[in-house]
């Protein structure tokens, strides 16, 4: 069978036809879709269009050719279309399945294959290896090499935005510093809750300080924080990148790791990871022996901002910062899948001395979307530039995010605009700890 026929057959077998039928094409999703907006309202780049394409393949009206694949790839997977869909179509699940089929059936050229193998199988599932990469990065930054390299402009030969991205890297901790962190943190004051902390990959390497800040905040809010040692990558990059089997493997590993700890909640500070964690039950729906365990796990997953609010963090702590205008960029998955959008805003608004300015379309994706900003660079940057216009209109000095991908993207936006002197991008946890400490 040719790859095309193969894909078509798999679409027929695996895509949920009821879900495809549930889309009644009202178009209510169109205004929420960033790629529809950025393509001058091209229907194929909209959720309604993409569902029609998937259904078109299943119905045999079209072949799953490169154009179809391109439109499915162009989707950010931000899922902004789901909360606005009156019919309740589970678009994200359809997309995930379709991408998985295409990836599995496709014969990649070797460089792509090698890159995917490295990212999905060799790197992210192995935290130790990630840490090694980061200790290299730490060496690069601290040895003076970074400064020397930047002076030579040699990085400009790198494709796309990699040169600019290099500038956005936060100063990372050394491997030794990373190893120092304990696994158990007692609550400050009376312990009211025990939470298990999901550390994540990027969050626990490149943004480890943010993780430490999050833990400190949780302690201040009266939580005992436990870090299950054997946890691994959440699998979101895999699930969204068409590597579902690997994602399932990682999910099971995490479920086992967290089952060993009798925590009230599973807490994290990365919306992208959280969105997959709360859908582990869906991911493992076809595995009867895991379904229940996954559902129990998913039911406990919460963003740290929700826990802080619930624990009356703002009443317990006095928060203040020097005068500045703050705006908030939603993490799509935190908002659209974990359904957390007001908690971060309430926390920011509790910081004395600052002004919160909501930017227009804060709920629209920033264009980061996993590895989208590498794979679909042109669209990603187009979306980012639009986003930075909105930041400018809000006169913000500080852009707060709640997910590592968004944080890197917004930092890149600041560099692209050349406004490093006056604007910064920061994770909500870091901002809050700063607000506590500066009192």
């Amino acid at each position: 069978m040719t790859a095309t026929k193969d894909i078509q057959q798999a679409f027929k077998e695996r895509l949920d036809y009821d879900e495809l039928m549930n889309c009644m094409r009202c178009g209510f999703c169109l205004p929420s879709c960033p790629t529809y907006g950025q393509t001058n309202q091209y229907e194929a780049a909209s959720p309604r269009g993409r569902i029609a394409l998937m259904k078109g393949v299943v119905d045999g009206l079209i072949e799953p050719d490169e154009a179809v694949e391109k439109q499915l790839n162009l989707c950010l997977g931000c899922r902004a279309c789901e909360p606005v869909c009156p019919s309740g179509v589970k678009y994200g699940h359809l997309l995930e399945e379709a991408r998985d089929i295409i990836q599995q059936k496709k014969r990649h050229k070797w460089p792509v294959k090698a890159l995917r193998h490295m990212v999905f199988e060799q790197l992210f599932p192995h935290k130790e290896r990630l840490k090694n990469v980061h200790s290299l990065l730490a060496f690069y930054q601290r040895s003076g090499l970074q400064k020397a390299v930047q002076k030579t402009n040699i990085l400009n030969v790198l494709p796309g935005n990699l040169a600019q991205m290099e500038k956005t890297l936060p100063p990372v901790l050394t491997k030794k510093e990373m190893k120092k962190r304990p696994f158990l943190f007692e609550a400050e004051g009376t312990r009211e809750r025990t939470v298990a902390f999901f550390t994540g990959c990027l969050m626990d390497t490149m943004f480890m300080e943010t993780n430490n800040a999050t833990i400190a905040l949780l302690q201040k809010a009266g939580c005992k924080v436990v870090i299950p040692e054997v946890q691994t990558c959440c699998g979101a990059l895999h699930a969204h990148g068409g590597e579902k089997d690997q994602a399932k493997k990682l999910a099971k590993q995490n479920i086992m790791a967290f089952e060993s700890i009798q925590a009230d909640d599973i807490v994290l500070n990365a919306g992208g990871c959280g969105a997959l964690l709360v859908e582990y039950d869906h991911l493992l729906k076809e595995e009867p022996e895991w379904k229940e365990r996954a559902a129990a796990f998913s039911a406990k997953v919460k963003d740290f901002s929700e826990i802080l609010l619930q624990q009356q963090f703002v009443e317990k702590q006095k928060l203040s910062l020097p005068s500045q205008i703050i705006t908030y960029q939603d993490s799509c998955h935190l908002r659209n899948v974990m359904k957390t959008s007001s908690a971060p805003r309430k926390l920011i608004q509790a910081i004395n001395g600052t002004v919160f300015n909501e930017m227009e379309n804060a709920d629209h994706c920033c264009g980061s979307a996993g590895i989208y900003n590498l794979t679909e660079q042109e669209m990603s940057m187009q979306i980012l530039d639009y986003k930075m216009e909105k930041v400018k209109e809000a006169h913000a000095h500080t852009i707060v995010t709640a997910n590592p991908g968004c944080l890197i993207q917004m930092k890149l936006g600041v560099v692209r605009e050349g406004v490093e002197e006056s604007v910064r991008a920061v994770h909500l946890a870091d901002l809050l700890l700063e607000a506590v400490e500066s009192k």
Binding site: D18, M21, N22, M24, R25, C26, G27, F28, L30, P31, N40, Q41, E43, A44, S46, G49, A52, L53, G56, L61, I62, E63, D65, A67, V68, Q71, C85, P86, S87, G88
Partner: protein, 470 residues
């Protein structure tokens, strides 16, 4: 498929980026929001100005290529489904608000402007554009004009045609004409403006429109009245109008509709009563207060079990936004949702609602009803599954019975959605043979080659009934 020569000429006009004929592009412009209609066009074209539209139509007229003008494809009568192939011509590259004239109270716009964008722009200046189709966040003004869209405010303010003062239209032969203008009075010859509004793209392509604006109402209040008995609710609608009150909005939702809408929107719509009236009045504060009080009293006298005025603007807004989602929310219940648009004189609402329920029982189909009760415009919506052919047949029969009943009560087959292809077989019910012939004569005079959105409005003689066709 288009022949290579035609294709080359069209690309010369708009450039290759604005002409698409990949299988992907053809598929995603093969449908609108009408269930069970899908048909691939040969290509999609996205002109940027009037001049390009003129050249496109000239080419299509010469080469006999059908043209389907399309906004955002939200219409519900298969009006923009390219059932005869040809080219889908989209409005979205022509999306500028050209002028808001505060002295003449007009707005001049290109057809691709999103309705809500226009509403926001004029409201920022203290002005008001009343037509508000449920799809206003998505739909374009061009699409609204082609279909003569209605909306929730139709009772007091009318529909799109009541706000179009003038048009620039490119005819099938490439000629461009201007009708009407920024005039309050204009009786020069035939009223071509009104002819083109609601002509569903069968007479020409609208490239510019002058719209009437009015001062924005000072205040607004929203009221929710709940009824155990559907008939009581329907009678209350008639009673309100009979008491000489014209609310801005007077919406009716039955129990299943409330249930699914609440499931989606979570705004506190009751799900345990059989009928809900959502009523809104706007205008000067003293008038609004007086009317709302009187409406409350009429509802109570009409056996409402609860009458509640929304406490805040936000609460009121949430309720009407929720109502706008009713159709799509109903799609949660069954895979296929077929919505109809039967309209009767206001005084016949209660009779029509009763008839719809009887018809549903008779044909053993599930019909939820909501709609603009105040203007007699009901949306009986059938929840079905397109894969069940036997049931679909009964659905068709039920709708046919509903249309006959509407006509019998002095009503019409469509209040605001247009005829399109979906209701073409029923046009003669409303117009009679001579009426249809007169309409066809106009169509033929302006579009002798029949390239403008063929297959719409007029049914083919061979097929009388095509409610559903894949």
């Amino acid at each position: 498929m288009l022949n290579e020569r035609t294709k080359a000429k069209l690309i010369e006009v708009v450039g290759s980026a604005n002409f698409q004929d990949s299988s992907e592009a053809r598929l995603v412009y093969s449908y609108d929001a009408t269930p069970n209609f899908q048909s691939l066009p040969d290509a999609v074209i996205m002109p940027e100005n009037k001049d390009q539209v003129k050249r496109i139509l000239t080419i299509c007229n010469e080469d006999h290529v059908p043209i389907v003008p399309r906004g955002s494809g939200t219409n519900l009568s298969a009006g923009t489904c390219p059932t005869q192939g040809g080219i889908v011509l989209t409005f979205n590259r022509m999306n500028k608000i050209l002028e808001i004239d505060e002295e003449n109270l007009t707005a001049t716009v290109q057809p691709g402007v999103i309705t809500l964008d226009l509403v926001n722009a004029v409201e920022a200046k203290g002005l008001f554009y009343p037509p508000d189709p449920s799809s206003m966040k998505i739909s374009t003004i061009g699409g609204n004009i082609n279909e003569c869209s209605g909306g929730l405010r139709g009772l007091k303010y009318g529909v799109t045609k009541d706000y179009v003062l003038g048009l620039e239209v490119v005819l099938a032969n490439g000629d461009c004409i201007k009708t009407g203008g920024k005039l309050a009075k204009d009786v020069a010859g035939y009223d071509l403006t009104n002819l083109f509004v609601g002509s569903e793209g069968t007479l020409g392509v609208v490239t510019e429109a002058i719209l009437k604006l009015i001062p924005i109402p000072e205040t607004k209040q929203t009221l929710l009245a709940l009824f155990e008995d559907m008939d009581a609710a329907a009678k209350t609608v008639s009673a309100i109008i009979a008491n000489k009150i014209i609310p801005a909005t007077l919406e009716f939702l039955d129990q299943p509709t409330c249930e699914v809408v609440e499931d989606f929107a979570q705004v506190g719509l009751p799900t345990d009563v059989n009928a809900v009236l959502l009523i809104e009045q706007d205008g000067p504060p003293e008038v609004v207060t007086r009317d709302i009080e009187m409406i409350s009293r009429i509802c109570s006298e009409g056996n409402a079990v609860s009458v509640k005025v929304a406490a805040s603007q936000a609460e009121a807004e949430a309720l009407s936004t929720a109502r706008r989602s009713a159709l799509s929310a109903l799609a949660r219940m069954k895979p296929t949702t077929i919505l109809e648009d039967a309209t009767v004189p206001r005084s016949k609402i209660s009779e029509m609602v009763k008839a719809i329920n009887e018809i549903a029982v008779k044909y053993n189909v599930k019909i939820c009803t909501f709609g603009h009760a105040g203007d007699g415009n009901l949306h009986p919506t059938c929840l079905t599954d397109a894969r069940d052919e036997e049931e679909l047949h009964r659905v068709e029969q039920a709708f046919e019975a509903i249309f006959h009943k509407a006509i019998e009560l002095g009503g019409t087959i469509t209040g605001e959605h247009g005829v399109g292809e979906m209701k073409a077989p029923y046009l003669a019910l409303k117009m009679g043979g001579e009426g249809v012939a007169a309409m066809k004569a106009i169509k033929y005079a302006l579009d002798p080659q029949g390239i403008m959105n063929p297959g719409k409005i007029f049914a083919k003689d061979t097929r009388k009934r095509v409610v559903v066709r894949s």
